[in-house]
């Protein structure tokens, strides 16, 4: 340390000597300047030892100003208005918990001030050169990277606050912040909207938790003595850094993080469980030979597209089949009102189609299917899809429904039991179409087969009705002419 301290002094003597050679310098002047230098140097070293930042900063400035006096030769004499000057005095190994203050960089083109927009929050681990915030000045966006790897300790300017070149921006605690354990910001209260009534095999993708909140920034303290601010949110940072556990790095991947269930999710879970407890739920299965409907689709898809402007899919066949079967077996379209102990029979058929979207499960309703043909159904499905894409789906589009169809087949499910979507009485689960050998008229043939499942409330629908219902769906899909003949 002493050697480092004497270094600049020696060099500056040389510089001053050079100047003295060039022109006459008052000897006292030179001596006093060098004395000033050593005094300020000594002060800054002791200040550092005490961990007294503000004083060190002031001392640093004094050092820099006195260094300015000497000839600009060599990087040691050059002024640096950034934090790197502190490194100059610390010739010992890098301090683990050193906190540095990063300042606003100078602006280009004589711009004076800008607005700060934070990218990272207090407690975030940043790597060297990672963007911590952006400053918007006069239509220009300037990124402020982190000078070193570490953990953000304090943000000195609120989001949107004005800064000028040189204004202190944030405090960074240097050193590799513990990777995963410090990610435990206060567990975000909510996830993105939870999926209602998940039917079979529908792996509803859940959106990520809301990013860490930024706490209110304390005002920059006026007094010189400043204790190291211990962020209330990051109690794990200190022990993690101090632990110096060699296994910490390797074990970091085993942490867990907790996310509080939001109210919607709790309610839906409750409702689902309630439905499961009150309904006598069971499932009946059947299989559907998809060859005829596939052939019909292949034959008519181009003409259909030309006439109606939309693609002909399989959903319309199943929706129409379900509507037909529901009008035939009204008990499946009814629901038990537990509060009044009545069975509510409905003479309209509104079919909810469960759709897995990137945002979660969405259940739009096709209303009045009993009066629609395949083309109408496809048009409605298409319209709902468009609305969802354009972000225009309304509550009315998703509320209600007397029966649900869920298609687990899009994910490749072969077989499964869907769960009833309260307050309905039954749900049809479609699964994947796979080629299977089946017995047709005494011979083995390979047909594209789909398993279908009907989960129903046995309090209302008895076994015979459920099986008949499912067989009706099977017969319509296997041969749509059944609809015309009303068989």
């Amino acid at each position: 340390m002493l050697r480092a301290a004497s270094g600049p002094r020696r060099r500056c003597f040389r510089c001053c000597a050079v100047r003295a050679a060039v022109r006459s310098v008052h000897p006292d002047d030179m001596l006093s300047r060098s004395r000033c230098l050593t005094r300020s140097l000594g002060r800054s070293i002791s200040a550092l030892r005490q961990g007294n930042r503000a004083l060190a900063r002031r001392a640093r400035h004094q050092v820099s100003s006195s260094q300015c006096v000497s000839v600009k030769s060599g990087p040691s004499c050059e002024t640096r208005s950034s934090v790197y000057q502190i490194r100059y005095f610390n010739t010992t190994t890098a301090h683990r918990n050193e906190v540095i203050t990063v300042k606003t960089p100078a602006f280009a083109e004589s711009v004076t001030e800008g607005d700060v927009r934070w990218e990272k929050a207090v407690g975030d681990t940043v790597s060297e050169d990672e963007v911590v915030c952006e400053i918007e000045t006069d239509k220009t966006s300037v990124q402020v990277p982190s000078p070193a790897a570490g953990v953000i300790e304090e943000l000195l300017v609120p989001d949107g606050g004005k800064v000028e070149g040189g204004t202190p921006l944030f405090k960074l605690k240097k050193g590799a912040g513990a990777a995963k354990t410090t990610a435990a910001a206060p567990p975000p209260a909510a996830e993105t909207p939870p999926p209602p009534a998940p039917p079979a095999a529908a792996a509803a993708p859940v959106g990520g938790p809301i990013p860490t909140s930024m706490p209110p920034v304390p005002p920059v303290p006026a007094q010189p003595i400043q204790s190291k601010p211990v962020s209330a949110i990051k109690p794990t940072a200190a022990p993690a850094a101090a632990a110096a556990d060699p296994d910490a790095g390797a074990k970091a991947a085993r942490s867990e993080h907790r996310v509080k269930m939001n109210r919607m999710r709790l309610r839906i879970a409750q409702r689902l469980k309630e439905a499961q407890n009150t309904c006598a739920m069971l499932t009946t299965f059947n299989e559907v030979d998809m060859s005829n409907i596939t052939q019909m689709r292949t034959q008519y898809k181009d003409a259909f597209l030309k006439k109606h402007g939309i693609k002909l899919g399989f959903m319309s066949a199943f929706v129409k089949a379900a509507a037909y079967a529901l009008t035939d077996q009204p008990a499946v379209n009814a629901v038990i009102d537990d509060t009044t102990k009545e069975i509510v029979y409905r003479d309209y058929v509104d079919i909810s189609v469960a759709v897995a979207t990137p945002k979660g499960l969405v259940v739009p309703v096709i209303r009045g299917v009993e009066g629609m043909n395949f083309a109408d159904i496809e048009k409605t499905i298409n319209e709902l899809g468009e609305k969802a894409r354009k972000n225009e789906l309304a509550v009315e589009d998703m509320d209600g429904g007397t029966f649900t169809i869920s298609n687990g087949g899009v994910f490749g499910s072969m077989f499964g039991t869907p769960i009833i979507n309260p307050p309905q009485s039954a749900i049809l689960g479609m699964h994947g179409i796979f080629d299977r050998p089946v017995a047709i008229a005494g011979k083995v043939e390979i047909r594209p087969m789909m398993y279908v499942a009907l989960t129903y409330d046995h309090r209302l629908i008895d076994g015979r009705e459920a099986v008949t219902f499912l067989r009706k769906i099977k017969s319509v899909v296997e041969d749509p002419r059944v609809l015309l003949l009303d068989m």
């Binding site: 280009a108 239509k139 966006s141 993105t192 909207p193 109210r263 839906i268 225009e392 309304a394 509550v395």
Partner: protein
Amino acid sequence: MILRLLNRACVLSGSVRLKSTLSTFFDEMGKSGIILKSATTGIFENLALEDWIHDHVDLQNRSMLLSWRNSPAVVIGRHQNPWQECNLPLMRRLGIPLARRRSGGGTVFHDFGNINMTFFISKKKYDRHRNLKVITSALKALRPDLEVAATDRFDILLNGHYKISGTAAKLGRTSAYHHCTLLCSVDRSVLSSVLKSNTSEVIKSNATPSVPSPVRNLLDVDPTLDSDTIMNAVASQYSNEFGFDGPVITVDPSHEALMPGIHKMAQDLQMWEWIYGRTPKFSVCSSLVVDDVTVKLDMDIKNGAVEQCAMEIPEDWLPSEMVNEFTSALNGSKYCPNEAAVLVAAFTRTVSVTADVAEKIHRLCAGVVSVM
């Protein structure tokens, strides 16, 4: 030793083959200035192209001009609030996408009648006035009696009054880019209706505001000035100004092999978290009228998600527990009509309500969604 050398040589040639990206192509060209033109009209692909060039091309001794046009889109600045800047319901109806660029500045409307020009250069030689002078000189060279001039706010004004170009810029570590629009034949009626927010009075935010100005198309003052003529004029003026010559190179931003990583950049720009989630914290305070009943709505939105939601509804219209449940259902959800609708639909499924209460909840939801 020889083996090692051989290995190294092999590895080198392998990596050289892989590294024939656009940036090495430019390096090999050895020119000090390059003019590019984008082959697509997708806003996200073009923004991704800008970012890719900014990140990957060495601009220390080179300057580049990229000109591009887009199908109709609204582009907001890095730190702006889309709900404050444009009419989102109208955009959804018209199918006009919203994009957020990485540079600062205000909101603009793009369509085929608008030319975008991006000037890439090293940070040391960054000079926006010089770039704008290229444009104004090019226009004056085409039509000497055209009165166009750049202001000190880096706009270009026609006849001293109408804005025909707006500027935004981004300063990276060693290089920078400055881009600007140029109105040639933009649909002005769509522009003015789309850039007028329907909810700006109810929003309180410290996001960067746009400064609205009266606009004009260059085509209005001179019907012979079309986009291609202008682009060629600017290209030749740029070559003169920056002292090089060469052909205009057309770049296709969907060419992943030539520009590795560009596809992901375009995807990132389309994510909800980027476009809407990057909005600085703001609050909405509105009085809705639903069924002749006045509902006071207060929401705090952070990162595009509702942080806090409170509603004041007369007790006789809807019971307060129901209102509390409704607001708590919205808490934590994205500030987005679809999400709100999904949540409320799920909410109505979990409470057993009579038909008319369900109707009221529907209409209340419609009212809340009208400010999203």
